[in-house]
Structures are given as C-alpha cells and as structure tokens.
Amino acid sequence: MRYLPKSPSEREQMLSALGLRSLEDLFESIPAAHRLNRPLRLPGPLSEMEIIEYFRARAAENARGYTSFLGAGVYNHVRSVVTDAILQRGEFLTSYTPYQPEISQGTLQAIFEFQTLMCQLTGQEVANASMWDGSTALAEAVLMAERVTGRHRVVVARSVHPEYCQVLTTYVRNTGLAVEELGFTPSGQVDVEALRAAVNEKAAAVVVQSPNFFGVLEPVAQLAEMAHEREALLVVAITEGVSLGAVRPPAEADIVALEAQSFGLPPSYGGPFVGVIATREKFVRQMPGRLAGQTTDHQGRRGFVLTLATREQHIRREKATSNICTNQALCALAATVHLCLLGKEGLQELAQQNLAKARFAQAELEKVPGVKLPFAAPSFNEFVIELPRAVKLVNTRLLKEKIIGPLALGQFYPELAKRGLVCVTETTPRAEIERLAAALQRILK
C-alpha cells in the first residue's frame, strides 16, 4: 500500500478491515460541532509550469542590493558550495532517522562527527545528535536541569535572547517550573550581585547567554562558581557559534544550548536551523534526544549506532526524557561539513575577521555625533548603539538608502527604544560600514 492511500478502493479496503461502512463512522467519536463539514479552503491545483512561475515571482520579491546590520540570533556568514554539494547527495538528503544501523552508517557517522565537533567547540564532554534549534535546545536544557537537581525554579538573565525566553515560557507554562528574571548592569552584563541574591537552595539553574543578546560576553567562569555554590547548574546559551573561534569555550557550564546556524546554514527566513545540547557525561541520562555512538561489529570493524535512544518517546512513550525524537540530521550535516572545511585555524581566522570588523564599525559609529556605545563590557560581532531618537524611526530613513539598520531593542525592552543592536560579520564590506556611519550622520543632523 502507498504511504498516502487515497483511491476509493483503498479506502473501502481499510474501512472494511475496521468493520466500518463509511468515513463518517470512523470520525463518530469526534463531536459534530468540532467536525469540518465543508472542503478545506485551499487554492486549486497548478500545473508544473504555473508552480515554477509562482515561485519565480515570489523569489523576485526578495530585496536586492540591501546591506543588513541585523543579527540577534541569525547570522549571515560565508557558505561554501561544497556544503551544498554534499547535502544534496540522495543518501543524506532523503534518508530518515537512522534507527537501523545496518543501512545508516553514513548518516550515523556524520552525526557522530557532529557531536565530536560540538564537544570540542563547547568544551563539554557529550553533545547530543541535535535539537530543532537554539531556542528549543535552551528550553530542553532548563527541563534537564530541573530533572538533574530535583528543583523547580530557574533564574534567567534578561540578556538571554527574548525569543528564546518566550519559547522557554511556552514549554514550562503548565509544568510548575518557576522562571525568575535577572537584570543587567549598565555595562550590559548579568548583574552579579542580584544573581547572588536570586540563587538560593531552590534554584535548579542559572541561565545566561554569552555573547548575550546585546553582544556582550558574560563572565561564565564566575557565574558558574556562584551557581555551584548553591548546587544549582549553570546553563549557557550561545546563538553565535562563530564566537567560539575567539572566545574561551564555556567549559565551566553544566549544560550548553547552542544554535549552530552560523556553521553553514543560510538565514533562510528563520530556519530550518540546528540546536545542540552539550553537557557533562554524568548528566547524560537526563539529556534529551539521542546520541550516535561508535562501536565495533561482530567482525571487529568500526561502526556507528544510535545509543541512549531507549529513553526517547518511540520506546518510553509519555515517560520519555523529552519529545524531541527526530533530529535535524541534514542541518547538522551542513554544520559538520562547514566546520571540517574551515578547520580549527579557519574558524579562528573567521572569528578574528568578525571581531576586527565589529571593532572597526564601533569606532566608525562612535565618531558620528549623537551616537553612543552604552555597554562597556567586551563584545564579539554584535554591539549596542544608542541614538538621540527612536531607532525605529531612524531605521525607516536608513531603509530608503538600502540599509537594513540595527535591530530596534525597544520591541523587546521598552526602556531601550533609543538603542539598537548592530551586527557585523565577515560578509559586511568595510565600505558598507562607512556608508552606514555616513547615513547616520546625515539622518541625525
């Protein structure tokens, strides 16, 4: 039988197997008021040529010739055609979750390599075979901290990506986990004194991001020490993976929730991306998702299998560690290929370029009368600027000059309406940074 059976005779066959006469009988248990009694409102079918024309027209709506200074969790980085060439191999592109090692060695090995790379980058001992994205990885990391500690309260820095916080709030809305916010200092870092007061013996975890949403690096080692004093875990979110080419890995953290989009995945309107949870080996049985593991077959040859999957939903049902079952194998493969192409030195060089460009942009923008750099703490490739008027209004003017300006922070932090988050990567030409500075100078005059 086909995977999507729809012929009348196939329907008949299935209904008679169930001892039913009509489709109506099948849906009888659903109250009539909740049943759809009309066809779905969908456009009619299109021919192949019409479909191609439709998508060409949509593609033509893409903005061309604009320079973007947006980051905030999604980053524009160089990608290689090699990545796409490997992704498009049918063996990878069309294969499903590798439950059966006897037919999935390539995919399993790719996942194993991915996990290894993620451990090396984050300074952690184990990394899972990927999550949906950074935000769901963070939410799962918090639930994991709750399981590890048996405590039901988490302290989350306000400088964690606000949309990650929204995903977390959605996850825990009905679970009885209390989420407490923690403010930031005038330098843009977590308020360490407030943290000391907030972390008590009921706290399961302290959750920070580094570089944080304002691009500022957090003192991870110090925060870990404070969390550990109260036997709470430190969860560190990372939205910009490239920072790990320049910044010390958060080895002191207990759980790292990483968004790996920066490694070979285009921004593509917000997804699909790939998240990672990396942690200490002693917490591995509380980790969501599964691991690919290396083993030997009965002839002593190296092979790969899914391990720790016994705690997941296809076996454990409602008692599963999490409901993340399918991983983002293709996106994880893209990250693996991209990182292997870059190599250790390549990643360091890439990070240095980002750092240098961001420092140049900071210096250029600071020269513009009226522009301030409010946060003094060290940053990576993103930083906050303060303008004499609302960023939203200034951005409207910049857009007319084909510049997509800084992210207006007022949409997430009402008190920061005059502050914007600027992102500069290796893809931002120096001339465009100068053009932004010149445009701001004109607009703010």
Binding site: R285, T310, R311, I315, R316, K319
Partner: protein
C-alpha cells in the same frame, strides 16, 4: 530459582522481609526479559513510597522500565554498588542485586503479594500467552 521466603509482585519485583525491614529487587524473569542491564536509577535514603509507586528505573539495551515498590515504606538503605556494576542485576537478581531496603509502613500489604509458587504459576501463564 525463586526463593520461598520472598514475596513477589505482578510487576516482577521481589521483597524479602526481616522484622520491619523489607529488601527489594527485581526477579530473574524480569532481568531475563530486559536483557543486558546498563544503568539503574535508585532513590535517596529517606524517600517514602506508596505500594505500587515507581521508586526507580532500570535501563537495559532494549528498554527503560520503572521499578515499583511492593509495599509502602521509607527507604533505609540503597545498594549503591549497582551504579558501577549494573550487570549484577543480570547475574544475581535475587541476591547481590538487591536495590533498596525499606521500613515497612504496613505489613498487611504483604498479603496482597504472591508467594514463590504463585509467582511461578503467574510467569508460566505469561510465557504461555507470549508463545500463543
């Protein structure tokens, strides 16, 4: 095979009672059904459980299963040796692989459990169902 001074549950745990203390583990039938045990998660001393409440999990290469408390009581002792040697559960399920010792809250609950002969008849029935 199944000690006559133990009592057994339908979920395949055993309990051996000395005075007010019960020692709890899983049966040989259970370890055989699970296959190679790779990990066991046990409660802390002082934890209290009601009869039939899950007090831990046992993970084998095939599955993760709950272990249920045969009677209600408070955990007095935990077999910490199992953490590093979970294979003991396969090797000596009725002896060295005991999991917890509990102080019985209500000794009458033991009456609801099966004796060795009853349990053996119960699993014989299970095996017959499985092969049917």
């Amino acid at each position: 095979m199944y000690p006559s001074d133990y009592r057994y549950t339908r979920e395949h745990e055993w309990i051996q009672v000395t005075g007010e203390t019960g020692t709890v583990g899983i049966t040989d039938y259970a370890q055989h059904e699970l296959g190679d045990v790779v990990f066991v998660e046990l409660p802390k001393v002082g934890a209290r459980f009601a009869a039939s409440q899950a007090f831990g999990t046992v993970e084998s290469v095939k599955a993760v299963s709950e272990i249920y408390c045969p009677v209600s009581g408070e955990v007095l002792e935990v077999n910490t040796a199992l953490a590093n040697a979970p294979e003991t559960i396969n090797q000596d399920p009725h002896g060295a692989a005991w999991m917890i010792k509990i102080r019985l809250a209500n000794a009458k609950e033991l009456d609801a459990l099966m004796d060795a002969a009853g349990y053996q008849a119960y699993i014989a029935e299970k095996q017959k169902e499985a092969s049917a």
